[in-house]
């Protein structure tokens, strides 16, 4: 029964700054918005597509996707209404496309409309999206929490440069979701009430939602698990034993879901000696004196005990992995599991054989090059713990490590003037997490192509942070772009993954899950790593 | 035996002190500075305590008030106020007594006034504390009191702060404060040292008047034997922490038995004792043990007439703006020094005398640019003071040293006096630290202090001792000029003689020039070559000492000479009635143009304002 379960209290320790995912792109904003505005289709907890506003998922089989893979046609569910009572039409989708692609708008989800040449309303209920090239995987625009439909009537004056000025629209978009924004306090708290025009008359069970922001992960966890002040807390990046101790209060439980996030260590292909100045970490600097040796790369990987790292920092929310591409299941490789078990002896032998001789100070060296690395990562207590563990493990194979941590806003900031960004990679090794949206890895795997190496020429903007360059790999990626059969695609993706791991481009550490906590009184939570965690908030209810 | 006489009157006495012993803690030891004091004061009676500087007079009075720092001092014996034991009272009861039954005028008015409250408020507080009157009534009362203590323009000065007052004016504020509550007993610790003789007379009259009207008893501490003779009924002579002699004033003056008493009296400089001599004269030096004059008085050095002046002051003018209202607009100015010109030759002493608040200290400070003069030219030993840069100013100041009117305030409370005295010497790199120490020790000995006092801090000294420290400090640099602002006012006669002789000796040996600011006409007569009389910021008469003293021309000079008290108890009931004329204020409105003054020559170098 709609609105019978009172107030649902959710805590996001990073507060929500806007309700318009097109203007922010941050995960927290996307999640918050997903309660209000919806896409045509989204992913369920298994990664499968489910129709939301669309009546069904278009496929080649049902004719929704053109044979040439150059267009996709969606049909809306009948009688859909915006929360203000007006009908949802195909024009709203067309407008949404225009909104996000308007010049100077700075749409954060532009990537979802990449390659889209046109969106047209065939009729009120039918939307046709056309692509420039054949798209083997056409479910991008209007799919997933990142590209929901917005109402043309509300946003029509907010195109392009005017987008940021529509504050009230951005803070309270009219949507089709189970809830309506009641009050929005940026970076603080959002209150929602049940959408009276929601298409399922019996939902949502909660009459209102309070989404509070701020604080840190541990205290957010405490408010759900220990004090029970809140019903749901997102993203519990806290040491497992703390969570375990809080759980003892019996007020809440943890839920996890594994998506595509992999915590990895990047090994720099290029030399980074500070004396190289601005040439550091570019092709001009030449190959890295130590890390260019495959033996070193491999030894570094097998010296790591991923189990311990997982236990110390991730617990339920992590699994050791040797794959850069950890999910969905069909893409998961089992060929590179050699790295899963720690093998200090093996690593030592590898290095010995490669001519890296242990020095009196416990550090190996060869031809005057010492195995001494600068290891940087963003500031975060779990990462610092991992750093300490890795440093310890590597010291056992004669590798010396200097740790450095950098504020996340700088590390991920991409300011070309800063020496501390992960793109510049002015360090021998660095660690962070990356993933991809949705379930299709094509774009993700393309990141390791030669032409994506960040360099001063492209403003350090490339995605190939490790500076991996292998023509074979590039060729394989191109092949992936031409293949449409899912199983063939999977096979290629696995090959790509194995190449990366075997070449030691990167050291995958942990397949990270999303970890959230909810109150024991809350029912219906289905953790979803492929879409917004709040994707099925309409189904949540209070345990009676 | 005298003690017996005193004890007899205990029953009707206002205050009776028995076996009072006060000690201070130095490190871990207790050192008694007042021992076994016994005295009584009856209503309407005035008891004077005289004695050597540092003999414990102030400590005695503070002990009576129980105002010594509680944890570093110890008071033993008995102090009874109208039969009530004060030493046993609890804090609150003692508070009731203070200000109400006993009030006190402190020796050093500068530090004793709260620097951040207007003086009017501070006086009013004394009234409001004990009497149930409204603020407005209190203010009226304060204005009346200020008038009575001869503060000119009291209404305007009600809201001014202590630092805007001259030394004598501050002292009068203290007096007004003490009298405000009409106490049963007034303890006056050297209340008139900074007052010129006319005002001193008026203040003494005021006290007498209150005694007559209200039956107030007075404990009067002073070095001025003239004042003692004039007002006190009985006198206690203190020496090194003990009362060596007590008796009626007449007895003490005429039949003093203790050698110190005799020494004290025989050394008192008397006005007109110069007998037509032109040059300054040393004081007779008295052996305290025997009371005999040891060294015969001798004439001191003269001045080389042809010598170039070391100090030339031309048309010096210093004004302090008075601002008022929201906008802080200038509403007038204190014309503290107006058009003052004089010069000073090496080896010469120019005495600057005049009414309290007439601008003497300001003149002294302007000369060294411690206050910025508003006009005029000053040249010190060839330096044009007005145009000096920082470094030259510093060098210039080496040649001209000051003894400040308020020695306590001029000593850094956190610096031991030894260091304070040594400091100028070391700062100017005149020698090593040891040389400085030796010189400082020597100078301290010569002003009558022990070299062993060097590690002590200013607050551990008596008023007169601090004054001597200041003198010693000014001598450290072997300057050419010394501006001595009331430098010997807090010294007892014997030490005054010693210090003055020292100054005269130094003058003779090093051709020192003194600008000697003083209210003590007898001392002025003795030490100076020339005298300048100031009145309301201007010099009204200047000339050779002999000429001015023997042949005063300006009405103010005449009045001044007439008011000098004579140390003869026989004359004590003389009433002066000087209180009648209006008090003039140096405050002028904006745009006031001071009249052009003409001087008339009376004798050689003797000028009088026309």
């Amino acid at each position: 029964e709609r609105g019978t379960d009172g107030d649902l209290k959710i805590i996001f320790w990073q507060a929500v700054s806007t309700m318009n995912p097109y203007l922010s792109g941050g995960t927290k904003e996307v999640y918050a918005a997903s309660m209000v505005i919806e896409p045509l289709a989204r992913y369920d907890e298994t990664g499968g597509l489910v129709p939301m506003l669309a009546a069904e998922i278009p496929t080649v089989e049902n004719g929704g996707v053109a044979e040439d893979l150059k267009s996709i046609t969606w049909k809306l569910k009948p009688d859909l209404k915006w929360s203000d009572g007006t009908p949802v039409t195909a024009n709203d989708a067309v407008f949404t496309w225009k909104y996000c692609t308007a010049p100077d708008g700075g749409c954060a989800q532009g990537a979802y409309f990449e390659g889209v040449t046109n969106v047209e309303a065939v009729d009120d209920q039918t939307i046709k999206v056309s692509f420039a090239d054949a798209k083997p995987y056409p479910y991008s625009a209007f799919v997933g929490a990142q590209s929901p439909l917005i109402q043309e009537a509300q946003f029509k004056d907010c195109l392009g440069i005017k987008a940021p000025e529509c504050t009230s629209a951005n803070f309270g978009p009219i949507g089709t979701g189970p809830f309506v924004v009641n009050e929005f306090k940026p970076n603080d708290v959002v209150t929602f009430t049940a959408n009276q025009n929601y298409r399922d008359a019996s939902k949502p069970a909660f009459a209102s939602v309070t989404l509070k922001g701020g604080g840190d992960a541990a205290s957010a966890a405490r408010s759900v698990l220990e004090t029970g002040e809140f019903d749901y807390a997102w993203n519990m990046q806290v040491e497992p034993e703390i969570l375990a101790q809080m759980m003892a209060a019996g007020k809440g439980q943890l839920v996890t879901a594994f998506g595509t996030q992999v915590e990895r260590i990047d090994l720099n292909a290029f030399a980074v000696d500070p004396s190289l100045g601005d040439k550091r970490s570019t092709a001009e600097a030449g190959p890295h004196p130590a890390l260019s040796d495959p033996a070193v790369r491999r030894a570094l990987s097998i010296a790591i005990d991923r189990e311990i790292i997982d236990e110390a920092g991730y617990g339920e929310a992590g699994q050791p992995t040797c794959n850069i591409l950890p999910a969905p299941d069909i893409y998961v490789s089992t060929n590179v599991d050699w790295c899963l078990t720690q093998d200090i002896e093996g690593a030592n032998k590898l290095l010995d054989d490669a001519g890296w001789v242990m020095g009196s100070d416990g550090v190996r060296a060869k031809d005057g090059v010492r195995l001494s690395f600068l290891y940087q990562t963003s500031t975060n207590s779990v990462r610092q713990g991992t750093q300490a563990l890795v440093k310890d493990m590597w010291s056992q194979i004669g590798v010396e490590v200097e740790l450095r941590n950098i504020a996340a806003s700088v590390f991920f900031g991409g300011d070309p003037a800063s020496p501390d960004t992960f793109q510049k990679f002015y360090a021998d090794v660095q660690m962070y997490t990356n993933n991809f949206d949705g379930t299709d890895p094509e774009k993700y795997m393309a990141a390791w192509m030669c032409d994506k190496i960040p360099s001063p020429a492209n403003g350090w903007q490339g995605e190939n942070i490790v500076r991996y360059c292998n023509p074979e790999y590039d060729a394989l990626v191109a092949e992936l772009g031409r293949t449409s059969d899912l199983n063939e695609r999977a096979a290629i993706a696995i090959k790509l993954n194995d190449m990366l791991s075997n070449d030691g481009a990167q050291i995958p550490l942990i397949h990270r899950g999303q970890l959230s906590a909810h109150s024991v009184t809350l029912e219906g939570v289905k953790m979803n790593a492929w879409d917004s965690e709040l994707w099925n908030v309409a189904d949540w209810s209070r345990k009676k | 035996m005298e003690k017996q006489e005193f004890v007899a009157s205990e029953t009707e006495s206002v205050l009776s002190v028995r076996n009072l012993t006060t000690s201070f803690r130095i490190g871990s030891q207790w050192r008694s500075v007042v021992r076994d004091m016994n005295f009584d004061i009856a209503p309407r009676e005035t008891v004077a305590i005289v004695g050597e500087s540092g003999s414990g007079k102030s400590v005695t009075s503070l002990s009576v008030m129980r105002l010594l720092p509680e944890n570093s001092s110890r008071i033993e014996g008995s102090v009874k106020l109208a039969g009530r034991e004060l030493l046993d009272l609890d804090r609150e009861a003692m508070r009731q007594v203070r200000g109400n039954d006993i009030s006190m005028i402190f020796q050093e008015p500068m530090t004793s006034l709260n620097p951040i409250f207007p003086i009017g408020k501070q006086i009013a507080e004394a009234i409001l504390c004990h009497r149930n009157v409204s603020a407005a009534e209190a203010k009226d009362e304060v204005l009346r009191l200020l008038d009575k203590v001869r503060i000119p323009n009291a209404k305007n000065r009600f809201d001014e702060y202590p630092h805007q007052f001259s030394g004598g004016m501050r002292q009068r504020v203290m007096i007004a404060m003490a009298l405000a509550s009409r106490p049963k007993l007034l303890i006056a610790d050297e209340p008139t040292t900074a007052l010129d003789v006319t005002i001193q007379g008026q203040i003494l009259d005021l006290i007498k008047q209150l005694q007559d009207e209200e039956g107030m008893a007075v404990l009067f501490i002073t070095h001025d034997m003239g004042v003692v003779a004039e007002i006190s009924d009985r006198t206690i002579v203190m020496f090194r922490g003990e009362a060596v002699e007590t008796g009626t004033t007449d007895d003490i003056f005429n039949r003093g038995r203790h050698p110190y008493t005799r020494a004290l009296l025989s050394a008192v400089p008397k006005l007109g004792s110069m007998g037509g001599r032109e040059r300054p004269m040393r004081f007779p030096v008295i052996d305290i043990a025997s009371g005999e004059t040891v060294v015969p008085e001798t004439e001191a050095g003269g001045v080389e007439e042809s010598a170039r002046p070391v100090l030339e002051v031309k048309n010096l003018t210093t004004r302090f703006d008075i601002r008022s209202g929201l906008f802080g607009r200038k509403s007038g100015a204190v014309h503290a020094v107006e058009n003052v010109s004089f010069d000073l030759r090496p080896g010469e002493t120019l005495a600057l005398v005049g009414e309290s608040g007439c601008g003497k200290s300001t003149t002294g400070r302007s000369i060294t640019r411690l206050v910025e003069p508003s006009g005029g030219e000053i040249s010190v030993d060839g330096y044009q003071v007005g145009q000096l840069g920082a470094a030259e100013l510093r060098r210039m100041r080496r040649t001209i040293q000051m003894v400040f009117q308020d020695p306590f305030a001029s000593l850094d409370p956190r610096m031991s006096v030894g260091e304070a005295v040594m400091e100028p010497f070391i700062e100017h790199k005149l020698g090593s630290k040891n040389e400085a120490r030796d010189k400082a020790a020597d100078l301290l000995e010569r002003v009558g202090l022990g070299a062993d006092m060097m590690p002590r801090y200013p607050h551990e000294f008596s008023g007169g001792q601090r004054q001597r420290i200041a003198i010693a400090r000014s001598l450290m640099l072997d300057p050419k000029i010394i501006v001595a602002d009331e430098a010997v006012s807090a010294l007892d006669v014997s030490i005054k003689a010693q210090v003055c002789n020292l100054l005269l000796d130094l003058q003779q040996s090093f051709n020192l020039a003194y600008l000697f600011i003083s209210h003590d006409m007898a001392v002025v007569e003795r030490v100076s070559h020339r005298v300048a009389v100031m009145y309301l910021g201007e010099i009204v008469e200047i000339g050779p000492r002999q000429a001015v003293f023997d042949n005063p021309q300006h009405p103010y000079t005449k009045k001044l000479m007439a008011a000098v008290p004579v140390p003869d108890p026989a004359r004590r009931n003389l009433k002066r009635n000087l209180n009648t004329e209006e008090i003039k204020s140096p405050i002028r409105p904006v745009g006031f143009v001071p009249p052009q003054r003409q001087y008339r020559q009376v004798g050689e170098g003797h000028l009088v304002q026309a």
């Binding site: 306090k185 205290s219 700088v410 | 200000g99 109400n100 507080e125 906008f327 306590f408």
Partner: protein, 336 residues
């Protein structure tokens, strides 16, 4: 004094302009980036477009001038319009917009002000009110048990960071005893007794933490300064007048001791408006401090610039007030 004030106020204008420029330059130079928060999945081209939409592709000077215009002309005009209801010009002006929220910065600040004033302001007020008597008594009874305990509490209170005391209090009072909420509800409207109690409850812990800190700091200065003046001769004079001991302390000694205290307080008042970053974070008060820190972390330059500048204005203003107070407190201090 009046002319001095006017002169200083006039002098403040170029000072603030210079400060605003330096802050702007500093923020521009700083390596934090407005896009750092975005998921790594957003490709570089899109990032470039977002940057351009924020105006980041403009030259530094243009951006600074734009901010000046927005802050000094557009925002005041906007406020003027809101108050009077009149429209000046076409009424369509670019306001200072935050990058992260895409909303007017001034509105954000106005929204945050109440909770900041309540929590941080109140604890500062309590801090001052408690610190003065504590300092006075500690000095008057130096080395008594009161003083010793005071010293101990003050030093522990000052040296143990609020991120620890805050969490400790939460664990004790929210988790174990469940007396107070651990999370501040900014939406709470006080309109009846119940909500008032609730408001007091949620304010209690953060205010306690901050008050302890403020008291510790200020009371030390009060104590030290009182000790300097307690032995002065004018105190003796006041006692000789028979002034009550309380008045001797509170009027004569305290007023003479106030200069460092006034300085510290005047330095502290502007920090109320910069919020209490850590405490706000711990208790989720989400006031100005949290606004500032999230803005800094997310590289939201217009917001940081505006907040910092307002803070600078307050600093300049309160330091001026302190200077004026010096003159009032101590007549010997003169500026003209």
């Amino acid at each position: 004094m009046f002319t001095f004030t006017i002169r200083r106020l006039l002098y403040a204008i170029p000072t603030l302009l210079v400060i605003s420029f330096i802050i702007f330059a500093l923020l521009d130079l700083a390596p934090s980036d407005p896009l750092a928060d975005l998921p790594l999945t957003i490709p570089p081209e899109v990032r470039e477009q977002i940057r351009a939409a924020m105006g980041l592709d403009q030259p530094f000077f243009i951006r600074y001038l734009l901010w000046l215009q927005q802050f000094f002309i557009n925002e005041p005009l906007n406020i003027f319009e809101q108050i009077t209801g009149l429209t000046v010009g076409d009424g369509d002006r670019m306001r200072v917009l935050s990058w992260a929220t895409r909303s007017p910065v001034v509105d954000l600040i106005v929204q945050r002000l109440p909770q900041t004033l309540w929590v941080v302001g109140l604890s500062y007020l309590f801090g001052v009110l408690l610190a003065i008597p504590i300092g006075v008594i500690s000095a008057y009874r130096q080395y008594s048990w009161f003083d010793q305990i005071g010293t101990f509490v003050a030093m522990v209170g000052y040296s143990v960071p609020t991120f620890f005391t805050g969490v400790l209090l939460i664990v004790v009072f929210s988790s174990w005893l469940q007396w107070f909420p651990s999370i501040y509800d900014t939406n709470l409207v006080v309109n009846d007794w119940n909500s008032l109690v609730q408001q007091i409850k949620q304010m209690f812990l953060p205010v306690l933490v901050l008050t302890l800190y403020n008291v510790s700091q200020i009371s030390r200065f009060v104590r030290a300064s009182m000790l300097d003046n307690l032995h002065m001769d004018y105190v003796r004079t006041a006692r000789a007048k028979g002034v009550k001991e309380k008045i001797v302390l509170l009027v004569h000694v305290l007023r003479n001791s106030l200069i460092p205290v006034v300085t510290v307080i005047a330095l502290g008042v502007p920090t109320i408006f910069s919020g209490a970053i850590i405490t706000e974070q711990v208790f989720r008060v989400n006031g100005l401090g949290q606004l500032l820190i999230t803005a800094i972390q997310s590289g939201d330059l217009p917001l940081v610039q505006t907040l910092t500048f307002i803070f600078a204005v307050l600093i300049v203003l309160f330091n001026l007030i302190a200077d004026i107070l010096y003159g009032i407190l101590d007549p010997r201090i003169r500026y003209d």
